[in-house]
């Protein structure tokens, strides 16, 4: 089995920053694994601005933020990036198995940084009754379809939840010529940043219902309409307030969860030389915070490698 000094899983805002930091702190053999064919992770589909204000002191789009990191990574020959590489197994002894086209590899790094990001919470996790037609997407999936694949998932959209991705997608659908009929948030206030409620929802006059929930989704083949109901202080539905909105698309934007199946069944704290950073560690509001967290992980991994 090949030995490596440091392996980092994920080449997004966390993994790339971790690699740069580890290199700056003396690590000279770094393997960055990325499952996509390009570096950048989710930044590539975040075409809006708001990135880099603290990390680069500039207001950048997601792809521009990624580009800054990619240029630095490419300039360092001791950082090897392996694309289409998907980590599938990690043992207590830090043996890592990953697949890439035509290959299955097992490596044993001195230190390993998990920078695998997060995935979206789904409709199933918030228990919305009703039918299961086509036309229900998580907000980030819709973002990928529009911004990467060039496909518009629907024409008349209702957004459930007011996470930042949902708010950003409200504007995105409008800019692509679709109609956004409502954003429905169960809490008393917007879950996403106030600036996004302003520039993505208010700017376009989209109805924003707080303390409301979607109580049912209708649709035979494709989504047709939703029931919306106001809820009281105790989260009980106020039946008299119920109304319907016709739509062909429902977006779910109810938060993220770390994507860390790789350490299922392991106790990560008890494994020396294993570090977790960015959204794989906890969910951050900003990519800048993810990168800052990763700088620390890169430094700690470097210190660990020196110490053994």
């Amino acid at each position: 089995m090949t030995e490596r000094d440091l392996i980092i899983v994920g080449a997004g805002p966390a993994g790339m920053a971790a690699a740069l930091s580890a290199h700056e702190n003396g690590v000279r053999d770094i393997l960055l694994l990325e499952r996509d064919q390009y570096p950048g992770g989710i930044l590539n589909q975040c075409v809006h601005t708001g990135f880099g204000l603290t990390y680069f002191k500039e207001n950048l789009t997601g792809p521009e933020y990624a580009h800054r990191l990619i240029e630095k990574i490419n300039a360092i020959k001791e950082i090897e990036v392996s694309f289409k590489s998907f980590a599938i197994k990690l043992t207590r002894e830090k043996e890592l198995t990953f697949i890439k086209p035509g290959k299955l590899e097992r490596l044993k790094p001195k230190a390993l940084i998990l920078a695998s990001g997060a995935r979206e919470r789904t409709r199933e996790m918030i228990h919305i009754p009703g039918e299961r037609p086509a036309g229900i997407f998580s907000a980030g999936l819709a973002q990928k379809l529009i911004n990467i694949e060039g496909l518009l998932p629907g024409k008349e959209v209702v957004i459930i939840g007011s996470g930042d991705i949902g708010l950003i997608m409200a504007r995105r659908f409008i800019l692509e010529g679709a109609k956004v009929k409502a954003v429905i948030e169960i809490q008393k206030q917007s879950r996403g940043l106030a600036r996004n409620a302003v520039q993505c929802v208010e700017d376009f006059g989209i109805p924003f219902y707080l303390s409301h929930k979607v109580s049912k989704i209708y649709g035979k083949k494709r989504a047709e309409k939703v029931d919306v109901v106001k809820i009281d202080e105790n989260s009980n539905e106020i039946s008299a307030s119920r109304f319907q909105i016709e739509c062909d698309t429902v977006l779910i934007s109810v938060g993220l969860i770390p994507e860390i199946e790789l350490i299922d069944g392991l106790d990560p704290v008890s494994i020396p030389g294993l570090f977790i950073c960015g959204n794989a560690s906890k969910i951050y509001d900003l990519a800048d915070s993810v990168s800052r967290d990763a700088l620390l992980a890169g430094k700690q991994a470097a210190e660990y490698i020196k110490s053994i």
Partner: protein, 118 residues
Amino acid sequence: MRKLICIECPRSCVLRVDIQNCRVVKVTGEKCPKGRDYAVSEVENPQRVLTSTVSTSGLALKMVPVRTDRPIPKDKILEAAAEARKMKLERPVKVGEIIAENFLGLGVNLIATRGVEF
């Protein structure tokens, strides 16, 4: 007095803006100088940077992300977005390269925010 939420950074400062004859005379609540500038612009001449995507033909990516290199009037955003939807990029570009000069005659350029090759 008009209440605005600053969109310049994630802090989302709540600005209280005193207005006389459509002009901003006083801003409070901002935590940095950008807040005042935003309030003045938002009241007197609201502007936004457009970010969108442009479809491609014969290139490695199906879509290239784009933005205006400077803000444009807020009431032109939908028209500008519709224009971007009509465009097709057929040549490789680098990050920051101009895709459309003097976009819609607004005195701004539409630039690529991601590089793309054949």
